[in-house]
């Protein structure tokens, strides 16, 4: 049976090649399209997800936010990380190289806590530890592991008082966390500077414990949503609750919309193309059975069973589908290679624009084979129903 089917294909190898080419011609663009969707959309998305700032929401107006609110927010599954923030004005400190007093650098003091997405991989920090941005490290001439003196000054009854805290630099903040001069420290450090500026702490006071700090109300917060999709909703909720926040909600919402629209677009094109592809494949196979009606009738007359007769178009369809799919994958891989070289580093960074995987190739071959076999079964049932008597008298 197999020999008979393949002998037929071999005899009509030009036609077979045409069928396979026709198959590949429709399938290859679909594979490229799918690869593009994978590459562009998935790449764009991954890039957004990788940028911790995309999921950040920061309150901008100073309020008095009670610990209960923070507890509630921390329990929200949509919020992956939250750290309270002191008033913006009191969150600036002067950093000095311990050996070069007077060479001060004014930096923004940012609160951090374990699990901070801006400082990935950092565990709990001690109250005398700090993470500095690259620019701050450079300007101060301090290396990671070195010491630095952090200070704030206030004037009280005409006298200038200074709170001076010797700190240790434990790491350099990644550029995604802070582009400008910035220092990350634990919450008690921020609270102490605020208290000192408010006049409720003495110049020789030292940072308290984290637990104790968390029991106090704060002016604001910095939080990171668990998922990109949560950002727009959280942003809206805070605004409704009267808390002014800054986030990339609009950009995120736009990108999510783009993602959805692109996905829909790809789905529509691929759906229409795929459907057309299966129809053309089926019609081709059907036509083949019609063309071979005489031969099939003859084989039936010679005593070939229905099952064997059905197998003929099935085997041939399978051969066409596999050859077509292999050809299509080869073409698509070539096109993807060209696309990736042409768009290298422009659209999706160093990610490939067109992403083809073995799973996709196998999927394309599988869908093709399935469609071809389905069409061939229909055609084959017809072949099996060809009355053997047709083989005797030939038109």
């Amino acid at each position: 049976m197999l020999r008979l089917a393949l002998a037929d294909l071999w005899h009509e190898r030009v036609l077979f090649l045409c069928s396979a080419l026709g198959c590949a011609a429709v399938l290859a663009p679909l594979i490229v399209l799918f690869g593009l969707r994978q590459g562009v959309v998935a790449g764009l998305r991954a890039e957004l997800l990788e940028d911790p700032r995309a999921r950040e929401i920061v309150s901008v107006v100073n309020r008095t936010l009670e610990p209960a609110l923070f507890e509630r927010l921390a329990a929200d599954p949509r919020i992956a990380f939250i750290v309270p923030r002191t008033r913006a004005l009191s969150a600036t400190i002067l950093l000095e190289h311990p050996d070069r007093p007077g060479s001060g650098l004014r930096v923004e003091l940012l609160p951090t806590a374990p699990g901070d997405p801006l400082l990935p991989g950092r565990g709990a920090m001690a109250a005398d530890e700090m993470v500095l941005s690259a620019t701050a490290l450079q300007r101060l001439g301090v290396a990671v592991g070195g010491g630095v003196v952090a200070s704030v000054a206030r004037s009280r009854e005409g006298r200038r008082e200074v709170l001076s805290l010797p700190m240790r630099v434990v790491a350099e903040a990644p550029s995604s966390a802070a582009l400008r001069d910035a220092a990350f420290a634990t919450l008690p450090v921020l609270l102490l500077t605020e208290d000192f500026l408010d006049g409720t702490a003495a110049p020789d006071a030292r940072p308290g414990g984290e637990e104790e700090a968390r029991r106090r109300p704060f002016a604001g917060f910095r939080l990171h949503a668990a998922r990109l999709e949560d950002v727009p909703a959280l942003d809206r909720e805070f605004r409704v609750a009267g808390i002014e926040v800054a986030s990339r909600a609009e950009a995120v919402a736009g990108l999510l919309r783009l993602d959805r629209n692109l996905a829909l677009l790809f789905l529509t094109i691929a759906g229409a193309g795929g459907l057309g592809y299966l129809v053309s494949l089926g019609v081709g196979l059907w036509a083949q059975v019609e063309r071979k009606r005489r031969d099939l009738a003859l084989l039936a007359l010679l005593g070939l069973r229905r099952r064997a007769l059905l197998a003929l178009p099935l085997i041939q369809a399978g051969a066409v589908a596999l050859a077509g799919a292999a050809l299509a994958v080869a073409i698509a891989a070539g096109v993807a290679g060209v696309l990736n070289r042409a768009f290298a580093g422009s659209v999706t960074g160093d990610r490939p624009v067109c992403l083809l995987t073995h799973a996709m190739a196998a999927g394309a071959a599988g869908v093709t084979l399935l469609g071809a076999l389905l069409a061939a079964v229909l055609a084959g049932l017809r072949a099996g129903a060809v009355p053997p008597a047709e083989g005797l008298s030939e038109g």
């Binding site: 008979l4 071999w10 084989l299 039936a300 007359l301 010679l302 005593g303 070939l304 053997p388």
Partner: protein, 242 residues
């Protein structure tokens, strides 16, 4: 001698060239190894009868026994595979113009019946090819063969699997008159050599008689009141004839 084929009161309605026809076979028997020509004008139902005898088309009614098997029961039970198997093992067919598969060589075409019957026999294939004078053409495809050679390949294919019955539908219709005599003679000789019964449908009873075939002519009746023309093939049982 037992009858290989036995039909009783078989009827089959079919559409002829113009008017509806009814084929009737009140009595018909064929002994093993016997040769017979079925004669009748075109459209008289010869091909329809051959199709029924080839187990390729069901009779409407009647009794039909082939090689000891009740064919009517198989048709009623829609046992198409059983019919196909019987066809594959016991029947050889020579279609009008050969009916060869264009994508197979002459040899593969002849081997087709052996393969389907599961009876590979290269020596017999070779012997038949030599007897029929086509040994040199075995490696060629039908397109490269003459009409006469194709017809001989078809005869070889019909005999290759040692069938009990060979059916030929107008095997001489598409060949030169001189060749026609040769084809009929070849068919008869090879079937006799193989011990196969042979039924040839022809519109030329004289040629068949010249080739030594007993001839059964059909009786045609003009349309009756219902407008159906009848075509009757009647052959008395062997015992009565003897």
């Amino acid at each position: 001698m037992t009858a290989l084929l036995s039909l009783r009161d078989v009827r089959k309605a079919y559409r002829g060239d113009a008017a509806p026809f009814a084929l009737e076979v009140p009595r018909f028997e064929l002994a093993e190894g016997e040769a017979l020509a079925l004669a009748g004008p075109s459209g008289s139902g010869k091909s329809t009868l051959l199709m029924m005898l080839a187990l390729a088309a069901p009779p409407d009614a009647g009794g039909f026994v082939f090689a000891g098997t009740d064919i009517m029961r198989l048709w009623r039970g829609a046992r198409r595979d059983a019919l196909a198997a019987l066809r594959a093992r016991r029947i050889g067919v020579v279609p009008q113009t050969g009916g060869l598969l264009s994508y197979l060589t002459a040899e593969a075409n002849i081997a087709l019946t052996q393969r389907i019957a599961g009876r590979r026999d290269a020596a017999r294939l070779r012997m038949l090819a030599e007897e029929l004078g086509i040994a040199a053409q075995l490696g060629r495809r039908p397109a490269e063969l003459s009409v006469g050679q194709r017809q001989r390949v078809a005869i070889a294919r019909a005999l290759a699997h040692r069938p009990a019955l060979v059916l030929a539908d107008e095997p001489t219709a598409s060949v030169h008159p001189e060749l026609a005599d040769a084809v009929l003679a070849l068919l008869r000789r090879e079937c006799a050599a193989s011990g196969a019964a042979l039924l040839v449908a022809t519109h030329d009873p004289d040629r068949a008689a010249r080739a030594g075939y007993p001839v059964l002519a059909c009786a045609t009746h003009a349309p009756d009141a219902s407008g159906v023309a009848r075509s009757v093939f009647d052959r008395p049982p062997l015992a009565e004839a003897a």
